[in-house]
């Protein structure tokens, strides 16, 4: 009972007079943002749509990686710093499959292209899933009872190790992946063609997201994951094998990173040992923006960042430009965290988690 009263007062305190000011400020900012977008749209619709498609495509890749951070954080409250590097390895596996196994060069015919994409996707997802689960087994599980800082340090260590492995395997420079995606148009809007290379990113991302939601919401394994995330001891008391559930979560997170790795390699056409560091940071930010631990939140956060980045770097009328992208993304993150610490979709739960 007491906790109820406390929560109530806290919520009421948050609605103090300053919140009107914040609401007003937020409204004005959003208004300016919408106005800026509308002017850009009116001035050059075709350009606006081109940029939007880029935002959507980038956002989709970020989403797959962000989900891995959020899944792992949800179950272990651990930021898996090595996650971005697992994604990078996914890109390398894909590049290897396309270049060395399928021997494809730019613009192959449809049959080999589809075969290469499907097989590379399977290989990248499986390999990254296993790698991620192995990382958990060797680097995090032995530290389950240790202070929080310990697994955080090993996570950073694993990140460096994976990068070094990538350098040893592929060298320090970019691997160019041939442009195998078709560039024909899917449809045209406002004079802009939405092309197959971007569409394929979405075609692969959407079913993966739906499968993930189904897995977490509807299956027995998903139930075990949610229970373990909320109370590990209680989950064990229900007969859930907690260690196996955590392994499974890392496997899924790794598989998502593998899928993202393939899409990145196909769409951006190059991978390097540090690709995962940069993209990982963006994806992690997306997960926090959306509410870390919340799956739809990670997707929303990723799309937001994808669009912010694209609009900022691409729109012509009064856009700050690419030099400002990081500052803008992180300013938004800071603002969100100050006024809504649980992120866009994170729950304000009674126990304060």
């Amino acid at each position: 009972m007491a906790t109820h009263a406390e929560t109530d007062t806290r919520i009421r305190l948050r609605r103090s007079p300053t919140s009107y000011l914040t609401t007003a400020a937020a409204t004005i900012l959003l208004g300016l943002l919408v106005a800026w977008l509308v002017v850009n749209l009116v001035k050059s619709p075709s350009y606006f749509f081109t940029i939007s498609f880029i935002g959507l495509t980038n956002g989709a890749v970020y989403a797959l990686v962000a989900l891995g951070y959020t899944l792992v954080y949800g179950i272990l409250e651990l930021i898996n710093f090595a996650h971005g590097d697992v994604f990078m390895l996914g890109g390398m596996f894909s590049a290897t499959m396309i270049i060395s196994v399928f021997n494809l060069s730019a613009h192959p015919s449809t049959g080999p292209m589809i075969a290469a994409i499907v097989v590379s996707l399977a290989v990248a997802m499986a390999a990254c899933g296993v790698i991620n689960a192995t990382i958990e087994r060797v680097a995090y599980r032995p530290l389950r009872g240790a202070p929080r800082l310990a697994p955080l340090i090993t996570a950073i260590g694993m990140s460096f190790i994976l990068q070094d492995v990538a350098i040893a395997w592929k060298g320090p420079s970019y691997i160019a992946v041939p442009q195998i995606l078709p560039t024909g148009r899917v449809f045209t809007i406002g004079g802009t063609h939405y092309k197959w290379d971007k569409f394929i990113v979405v075609v692969i991302t959407v079913p993966v997201l739906i499968a993930l939601m189904w897995l977490v919401q509807k299956t027995r394994q998903g139930k075990a994951m949610r229970a373990t995330a909320q109370d590990r001891d209680a989950a064990a008391m229900m007969g859930i094998n907690v260690d196996r559930t955590i392994s499974f979560t890392f496997l899924i997170a790794g598989a998502l990173a593998g899928a993202a790795g393939l899409l990145y390699a196909l769409y951006f056409g190059q991978v390097r040992y540090d690709t995962g560091f940069q993209l990982g940071l963006i994806a992690f930010t997306a997960a926090v923006l959306g509410g870390i631990g919340n799956l739809p939140g990670a997707v929303l956060g990723a799309l937001c960042i994808g669009f912010i980045q694209a609009f900022n770097e691409g729109l012509r009328w009064h856009s700050p430009g690419s030099d400002w992208t990081q500052s803008i993304v992180f300013s938004i993150l800071i603002l969100i965290l100050v006024f809504r610490p649980e992120g866009l979709l994170g729950e304000r739960t009674p126990e304060g988690a």
């Binding site: 229970a227 909320q230 064990a236 229900m238 007969g239 907690v242």
Partner: protein
């Protein structure tokens, strides 16, 4: 030595430590078929630790725990649950972001007999109509007493072969305390042995067949419940008499 049926659970000289603190200093106890056994003792005596040692959440340093003829001393917690031990733990440990209904379903996680689960769900809702009213509410937003009911209901949903309850009357209004004790007796009469930790020693000894009194990690007394009720030391220490 067992007069009322076989031994379901036996602890032999179990020692459990947290770091360098020895919480259990050699506990031996038994629960037999059809029994309610109560574990009494003041705060910090080691009652909850005994239950946690049994269901595998902490590992004993030494000693043996045998459940229905199988040694479970070092078995992982989830296997012990599958063997048939369910617990309503201290502090309830509900899944806060799941609804009451989902929490109860989690209790039956390792079962697959849908018919039996539906039956048990009905039984829990009959015992605690309040839970039926709140079944779509998130467990984290329940009142303390409602959470306690949910935790007990969740343990019952496992249809366990041994039910362990850690202070089930904690935080409940007197009317619900009575209902909990009625439930305990009813579940027991349907054939489930129960290991009951209680602060409310009077009521616990009322329903129990036997009792153990724990003092700083050791068993100080073990006797029939009726005789424990008459014991001078017990009356002084736990039944509030001078």
């Amino acid at each position: 030595m067992s007069t009322n049926g076989g031994v379901v659970l036996a602890l032999e000289d179990v020692r459990t430590s947290y770091g360098s603190i020895e919480a259990l200093k050699g506990i031996s106890l038994e629960v037999r078929e059809g029994e309610i056994v109560t574990l009494l003792g003041s705060n910090g005596a080691g009652k909850s630790t005994t239950l946690r040692s049994i269901n595998g959440l902490v590992r004993p340093r030494s000693g043996r725990i045998v459940f229905r003829g199988k040694e479970i001393t070092n078995a992982p917690a989830h296997e012990i649950v599958r063997d048939g031990i369910a617990q309503s733990p201290e502090g309830r440990k509900l899944f806060p972001r799941m609804t009451v209904l989902e929490n109860l379903e989690m209790g039956a996680f390792q079962r697959s007999d849908r018919g039996g689960m539906a039956e048990d769900m009905e039984r829990v809702f009959t015992l605690f109509p309040r839970l039926a009213e709140r079944k779509n509410q998130k467990a984290g937003t329940l009142s303390g007493g409602e959470q306690q009911m949910c935790a007990i209901g969740r343990a019952l949903m496992a249809r366990p072969k041994l039910l362990m309850l850690d202070e089930p009357s904690m935080g409940l209004a007197p009317i619900f305390v009575e209902r909990i004790f009625e439930t305990i007796v009813e579940v027991n009469q349907q054939g489930t042995p129960i290991l009951l930790v209680e602060q409310n020693a009077l009521m616990a000894l009322d329903v129990a067949n036997r009792g153990y009194v724990l003092e700083t990690g050791k068993i100080a007394l073990a006797d029939d419940a009726a005789r424990l009720r008459e014991n001078e030391d017990v009356r002084k220490a736990y039944l509030g008499e001078t």
